[in-house]
C-alpha cells in the first residue's frame, strides 16, 4: 500500500530520521545546550510521526484524523515548557559555575556560588 512517494510514508520516515538524530544528540553530546536542542529535534520527529498517523487516518477511519493533531498541539506546549525550564536551569548553572556540562561531576569545594 505504501510507495515511498506516499506523503504519509514520507513524513513517517522523516519523523523516524529526526527521532534518530535527536536521540543521538541527547545521548552522545556532553554539552547541555546541545542536548536540549536534541530533545527538541527528537520531539519534532515524534510530532511528525503523529502527523503521519493523522494523515493516514488510521484511527477513526476518517480521511484525516484530527485527534493526533490535538495531541501534537498539546505536545508542543509541553515541549516548550520543558525547554524553558531546562534552559533557565542551565543558565543558572552557568552563572554559578561557569560550565554548561554535567561531565565533571561537581568536584567538592569548587568555588561555586557568587550569589
Amino acid at each position: 500500500m505504501s510507495s515511498i512517494s506516499n506523503p504519509a510514508t514520507l513524513f513517517g520516515l522523516c519523523g523516524a530520521a529526526l527521532v534518530g538524530i535527536g536521540l543521538f544528540t541527547v545521548i552522545v553530546h556532553p554539552g547541555l545546550l546541545r542536548r536540549i536542542v536534541g530533545f527538541n529535534i527528537l520531539g519534532a520527529g515524534i510530532f511528525l510521526i503523529f502527523g503521519a498517523v493523522a494523515r493516514r487516518g488510521a484511527g477513526a477511519g476518517f480521511e484525516g484524523d484530527p485527534v493526533p493533531q490535538a495531541m501534537v498541539i498539546t505536545g508542543i506546549v509541553v515541549a516548550f515548557s520543558a525547554t524553558a525550564l531546562a534552559v533557565a536551569m542551565l543558565q543558572r548553572l552557568f552563572d554559578l559555575t561557569g560550565r554548561a556540562t554535567l561531565e565533571p561531576p561537581a568536584p567538592e569545594g569548587r568555588p561555586g556560588s557568587e550569589t
Partner: protein, 521 residues
C-alpha cells in the same frame, strides 16, 4: 473494534466527581497561591491538604461501599474520542497513600520552616508549596487517568514540579543534580510519547480499556510497549538508569526528598504496572502464543533489572558515608522489588495477574516503602537540622539527643528489611512465597539477600544512634518534638500496614474484570 460495538465501558458513577476533585483541588491551590501574598501560601496549602485527604478517604469509602470502580467521563464524551477517569482498588490505594504522605510532608515542612522565622516567607519556603500541590495534582491524575496521552501530560507535569524541588536551595550541586534528573526524565517521557504515537497509529485509540480489547499488529505493539517501558524505567530510576537519583534526592531539602522518594518515582512504576497488566495481555487474541512470549520476555528483563537493582544499590547504600545518600540508594534498591513482581505475578487463563499473591505483595511493597521512606528522609532531615551535617561516622550517639527520630528511623528500617511486624515483611513474605512456589530460586535468593543487605545498612545507622560517643554530640539547635513526631507517625503507619495482612487482597481487586470475563471468547 469490538469495544465500540458494546455498551460503553465508562459510565460516570455516582462518586465520579470525586476523581475530578482529587485532580482539580491541588491544581486550583497552585493558581490561588500565585495570587496571594507569600505569608498566606502555607495557609492555602493546609486547607487544600485537609480537603484532599478527605476526598481520598471518601473515594476509598465509596469504593468499599459500592464494590465497584469509580469512573467519570469528562464532558460525557465516550473514549476513544473523549477522556475518562477511573479509580479501581489499586488506584484508590495509591490516592489514599499519596494523600497521607503529602499531608505528613506538609506538616513536616511547616514545622521545619518555623525553625527559621526570618526565612519562613522567603522564596524557597514559599515556592515549596505550589510545587508540592502540583506534584499532588499530577500524581492523582496519573493514578486515575485512563488515556495514555493524558498520562503523558500528567507525567510531564509531575516532572516539571519535581525537578525544581530538587534545586530549591539554589546551590550549584543541586542545580546540576536537578538538570541531570531533567535530562533522564525528558528522555523518558519522549520515549513514552513515541510509544503512544505508535500505539495510536496501530489502534486509533489510547484509552487503556480500548487497548486491552484490541488485538493484532503485534510487532508495532511490542516496539511501542518496549519504548514506553524503557522511558518509564528512566523516570523510575531502575538500575542501570538510576544515576540521577542519589544526588537529586540526597541534595533536596528533607521534605522534598520525602515526597520525591516516596511518591514521585512510584508514578512511573504504577504506569508500567498498568501497561504490562492492562495493555500487554490485551493483544492476546489470535496471536496469543507470540504475545505471551513477548510479555514473559518483558517480565523477565524487568525482573533481571530489578534484581540487579536490589543487589547493586543495596551494596552501594551500605558503602555511603552520608545518611541521605544512603537512604537514596536504598530507594533504588527497594524499587527493584517492585520489578521482580512481573514474572512472579504472571497470570494464567484461570488466575489473572492481579489475583496472585505476588501482585498483592508488590502493591503492599509500594505502599509500605512510600510510608517508610518518607519517614526515613524526615528523620534524616531532623538529624541534619540538629547537627548541621549528615556524615554517618560523626553521628555517634545521636539517639540520645533525637530519640524520636532514631526510633522512627529504626521502625522504618524494619519495613525496608522485611522484619515482622511491618508492611515490608508482609510484602516480601508474599513475594518470597511466590518466588519459591513459582520455581524462581534466583529471585527468592535475591529477595533474601536484599533483606540481609538492607539489614546491614539500617543497623549501621541504628548502631550509630545507640553508640556511646567519645566526644559528646551537641545539637546545633533544639529540634521540636512535633517535627520528629511526623516521621514517627509515618514509620508507625508503615509498621501498621503489616497488621492488616490479606485485608487489602480483596480491596486491590475491586474494579478489575472478573476472571470469567477474561477467558470469554
Amino acid at each position: 473494534m469490538s469495544a465500540l460495538a458494546n455498551a460503553p465501558f465508562y459510565v460516570t458513577t455516582s462518586g465520579g466527581y470525586l476523581l475530578v476533585l482529587a485532580i482539580i483541588l491541588p491544581a486550583v491551590a497552585v493558581l490561588a497561591m500565585l495570587l496571594v501574598p507569600p505569608r498566606h501560601v502555607a495557609r492555602i496549602a493546609f486547607a487544600v491538604m485537609a480537603a484532599g485527604l478527605a476526598v481520598a478517604l471518601v473515594i476509598v469509602a465509596e469504593l468499599v461501599g459500592t464494590g465497584m470502580a469509580l469512573a467519570y467521563v469528562v464532558g460525557g464524551w465516550q473514549p476513544p474520542l473523549g477522556l475518562a477517569l477511573r479509580a479501581d482498588g489499586l488506584s484508590a490505594a495509591m490516592l489514599a497513600m499519596t494523600a497521607v504522605v503529602i499531608c505528613a510532608t506538609g506538616l513536616f515542612a511547616r514545622f521545619h520552616q518555623c525553625l527559621e522565622p526570618e526565612t519562613q516567607d522567603g522564596r524557597a519556603a514559599t515556592t515549596f508549596w505550589p510545587l508540592l500541590m502540583a506534584i499532588w495534582s499530577a500524581l492523582n491524575a496519573i493514578f486515575v487517568g485512563e488515556d495514555l496521552f493524558t498520562l503523558y501530560v500528567a507525567l510531564e507535569l509531575l516532572t516539571f514540579a519535581a525537578v525544581p524541588l530538587v534545586c530549591l536551595d539554589g546551590r550549584a550541586e543541586t542545580i546540576a543534580a536537578a538538570l541531570r534528573y531533567l535530562m533522564f526524565a525528558l528522555l523518558g517521557s519522549l520515549l513514552y510519547l513515541l510509544g503512544a504515537a505508535l500505539l495510536y497509529g496501530v489502534f486509533g485509540a489510547l484509552d487503556i480499556h480500548s487497548l486491552s480489547r484490541l488485538d493484532g499488529g503485534a510487532p508495532a505493539v511490542t516496539v511501542a510497549l518496549g519504548l514506553m517501558i524503557a522511558g518509564l524505567l528512566a523516570k523510575a530510576a531502575l538500575f542501570p538508569l538510576h544515576l540521577w537519583l542519589p544526588p537529586a534526592h540526597a541534595g533536596a531539602p528533607a521534605a522534598a526528598s520525602a515526597v520525591l522518594s516516596a511518591l514521585v518515582i512510584k508514578a512511573p512504576v504504577f504506569l508500567i504496572l498498568r501497561l504490562v497488566l492492562d495493555v500487554a495481555p490485551s493483544s492476546a487474541g489470535p496471536l496469543a502464543g507470540q504475545i505471551f512470549i513477548g510479555q514473559i520476555l518483558i517480565g523477565q528483563i524487568l525482573a533481571v533489572l530489578g534484581a540487579s537493582s536490589i543487589l547493586f544499590c543495596s551494596v552501594m547504600a551500605f558503602r555511603q558515608q552520608r545518611l541521605k545518600l544512603m537512604i537514596a540508594y536504598s530507594t533504588v534498591a527497594q524499587i527493584g522489588y517492585l520489578f521482580i513482581v512481573f514474572p512472579l505475578a504472571a497470570g494464567t487463563e484461570t488466575l489473572p495477574a492481579w489475583g496472585t499473591i505476588a501482585w498483592t505483595g508488590g502493591a503492599l511493597q509500594l505502599v509500605s516503602h512510600a510510608l517508610a521512606k518518607a519517614a526515613m528522609f524526615m528523620a534524616a532531615g531532623a538529624v541534619a537540622e540538629a547537627f548541621g551535617h549528615d556524615r554517618i561516622s560523626d553521628l555517634g550517639g545521636f539517639g540520645r539527643i533525637l530519640p524520636i527520630s532514631a526510633l522512627a528511623f529504626g521502625l522504618a528500617g524494619l519495613s525496608l528489611m522485611g522484619l515482622p511486624p511491618s508492611g515490608g515483611f508482609i510484602a516480601k513474605c508474599l513475594l518470597l512465597t511466590a518466588a519459591v512456589t513459582g520455581g524462581h530460586p534466583w529471585l527468592a535468593a535475591t529477595i533474601l539477600a536484599g533483606g540481609l543487605l538492607a539489614g546491614g545498612y539500617v543497623f549501621r545507622i541504628v548502631d550509630r544512634a545507640l553508640a556511646t560517643p567519645a566526644v559528646e554530640l551537641v545539637a546545633r539547635r533544639p529540634i521540636p518534638r512535633r517535627l520528629e513526631a511526623v516521621a514517627l507517625v509515618l514509620a508507625l503507619a508503615a509498621v501498621g500496614v503489616g497488621f492488616v495482612p490479606l485485608q487489602p487482597f480483596g480491596f486491590l481487586q475491586l474494579g478489575r474484570p472478573a476472571v470469567s470475563a477474561m477467558v470469554a471468547p
